[in-house]
Amino acid sequence: MKLSSLNRTLLLFTVLLASYQVSAGIDGFTALPITAYTIAFGVILIAALLIFILGIDVLDSPIVVIVSTIIPLSLAAGLVWQHLASLRTWYLVFTIIGFLAVTLTRSIQIQNKLPVIILAITHGIAGMTIFLLPIIIASQGETKPLFALVGVGGALIGVGGLLLSFLKTGRPIVSRDTIMKFFPAMLFLTTALFVAGFKFG
C-alpha cells in the first residue's frame, strides 16, 4: 500500500515532534523517567522514520508486536516513577516481566491462547496506566490541567497498539487496510498529544 502525501507529511511531523521530545521535552526529569521517555519517543521516532522510508507495509513485520509493546510499557513506567512513588519498584518489575513475556511468547511457537492473553494483559495494564494516571493527577491539581492530554494520547496509542497486535496475532478487530490507512494520522495525533501534555501540563 502506497503512502499518500498527507500520510508522509504526518509521519515527517511525527518524527520532528518525537525528536523535540527526546532532545528537549524531558529535560529536568530524573534518570529513570528520562530513560523511559527516551525509549518511548525514540521508538515512535524510528518507527515513523522507517514507515516513511520503507512504506506502511513495514507494519507487516512480525517484530511490530514487540515494538508496539515497548512504547506503552516505557511511557507508563516513566509516568508511574514520576507520579506514583509507592508503586515504582512493582511497576518496574511489571514492565520488565511484561516485555520479556511478550517477546518470549512472540519468539517461540505456542499453539494455545497464552500469547494473546499475555499481550492483552500487558497492553491493558500499560494502556490504562497511561490513560488514567495523567487524567487523575491533572484533575487532582498535582499538575496543570493540560497534562491530561498525555492520557488522551495514551488512550489513542493503547487502541492503536491493540489493533496492531491483534492484527499480527491473526485475530484482527479492524481490517488491515483500515489500520494501515489511518495509522500515520493516529501516530501523529498520539505524539502531538503526548508532546503537548508534557510541554503544557
Binding site: 532532545s23 527516551t38 519517543f41 521516532l45 524510528i46 522514520l49 522507517l50 522510508i53 520503507l54
Partner: protein, 291 residues
C-alpha cells in the same frame, strides 16, 4: 539543472550535471557543519562564503575530473551511461579543462584562505582523483576506502578552518563520514553488481560475496554512528541532542543487525536511506548545537 533521466541541453547545464550537485552539496554541508563545530565566528559571512565557494569548487572539480577519467566505464554501465561524458555530448578535452580549472581555483582559493585548510582540501581532491579514481578503482575493491577518506575531508577541512588546527574531534567527525560512505557505495555495488562486472570494476560483492558485503555495511554503519556520538561528546553537545543522536544510532544499529542476519533487498534499501537521514540529522545537530 538536469534530472537523473533527462539529458541537459545547455552547456552550463551539462557541466553542472557533471558536478553531481546533490552529492557535492551534501559534502559541502558536512564542511559547513565541521566549520561550525569549532564554535568559531559562525556568522562570519566572509569566512562562510569563502569556505562554501572554495570547497564547492574543489569538490565539483574533482567530481568532473572523475567523470572525465571514468567516461569509458560509465558508458558501459546502465546507471551512468546517460551522463553527458558517456554520451559524448561534451568533448573530453573540454571536460578535462573545466575540471582542472575549477579544481585549481577551488584549491588555490582554499590555500589563500588558510594554508592548513587548503592542504586538507587538496588532500581530499588528491585522494579522490588520483588515488581512488586513477590508481585504485579498476584494480581493487578496497579503493572505496580511499574514496571514503576523500569524502571525509570536507568536514575535517571545515573544522580545520574554524579551529586553525587538526584535533581528535575533527578526525572523529571525518571517521564518521568515512565509515558512513560504505553504506552508500556498497549498497550501490550490490544493486548494480552486473553493471560493475560488465565494466570490469572490482567490487566487494564480486570479490567477497553478498553476505560479507552486507556484514561490512552493517559494521561500518555502527562504527560510523559510534564515531559521530564520540565527536558529539567531544564537541560538548547538549545532553538532549546526544540523547537524540543515541536514539538515531540505535535505529541504525537495528537495521545493521537486520541486514547482517536477515538480509532482504528492502532492508538493504532501508539502511541505505536511513544512513543518509542519520548523517543529515547528525550534521543538523552539530549546527544547532552551535547556533
Amino acid at each position: 539543472m538536469s534530472t537523473r533521466d533527462s539529458v541537459p541541453t545547455s552547456k552550463f547545464a551539462m557541466f553542472w550535471s557533471l558536478t553531481k550537485p546533490s552529492q557535492s552539496g551534501l559534502l559541502l554541508a558536512t564542511g559547513l557543519a565541521g566549520y561550525m563545530s569549532a564554535r568559531g565566528p559562525v556568522f562570519n559571512l566572509s569566512a562562510i562564503l569563502q569556505l562554501s565557494i572554495s570547497l564547492f569548487l574543489a569538490i565539483a572539480g574533482s567530481t568532473i575530473l572523475n567523470m572525465w577519467w571514468d567516461r569509458d566505464i560509465d558508458a558501459k554501465m546502465g546507471r551512468t551511461q546517460k551522463r553527458v561524458t558517456s554520451k559524448g555530448l561534451v568533448s573530453d578535452k573540454e571536460v578535462l579543462q573545466v575540471g582542472s580549472l575549477i579544481s585549481v581555483i577551488g584549491i588555490g582559493w582554499a590555500i589563500a584562505l588558510d594554508p592548513l585548510y587548503g592542504l586538507v582540501v587538496f588532500a581530499g581532491w588528491f585522494f579522490d582523483v588520483v588515488v581512488y579514481s586513477m590508481w585504485l578503482k579498476r584494480r581493487t575493491c578496497w579503493s572505496i576506502v580511499w574514496g571514503g577518506i576523500s569524502g571525509a575531508m570536507p568536514i575535517l577541512a571545515g573544522r580545520v578552518l574554524g579551529l586553525g588546527a587538526v584535533d581528535w574531534i575533527g578526525l572523529m567527525l571525518a571517521l564518521g563520514i568515512l565509515l558512513w560512505i560504505p553504506t552508500h557505495t556498497l549498497t550501490f555495488s550490490m544493486k548494480f553488481q552486473k553493471d560493475y562486472a560488465d565494466a570490469g570494476v572490482p567490487t566487494f560483492p564480486s570479490t567477497y560475496g553478498l553476505a560479507a558485503t552486507r556484514a561490512t555495511i552493517g559494521i561500518s554503519s555502527v562504527l560510523a554512528a559510534a564515531a559521530m556520538v564520540a565527536a558529539g561528546v567531544g564537541i560538548g553537545m547538549d545532553w538532549g541532542f546526544l540523547r537524540l543522536l543515541g536514539v538515531l544510532s540505535a535505529g541504525l544499529l537495528m537495521l545493521a543487525i537486520a541486514i547482517t542476519f536477515k538480509p532482504t533487498e528492502r532492508v538493504n534499501f532501508g539502511l541505505f536511506k536511513y544512513a543518509s537521514v542519520y548523517m543529515l540529522a547528525a550534521m543538523i545537530l552539530v549546527v544547532l548545537e552551535v547556533i
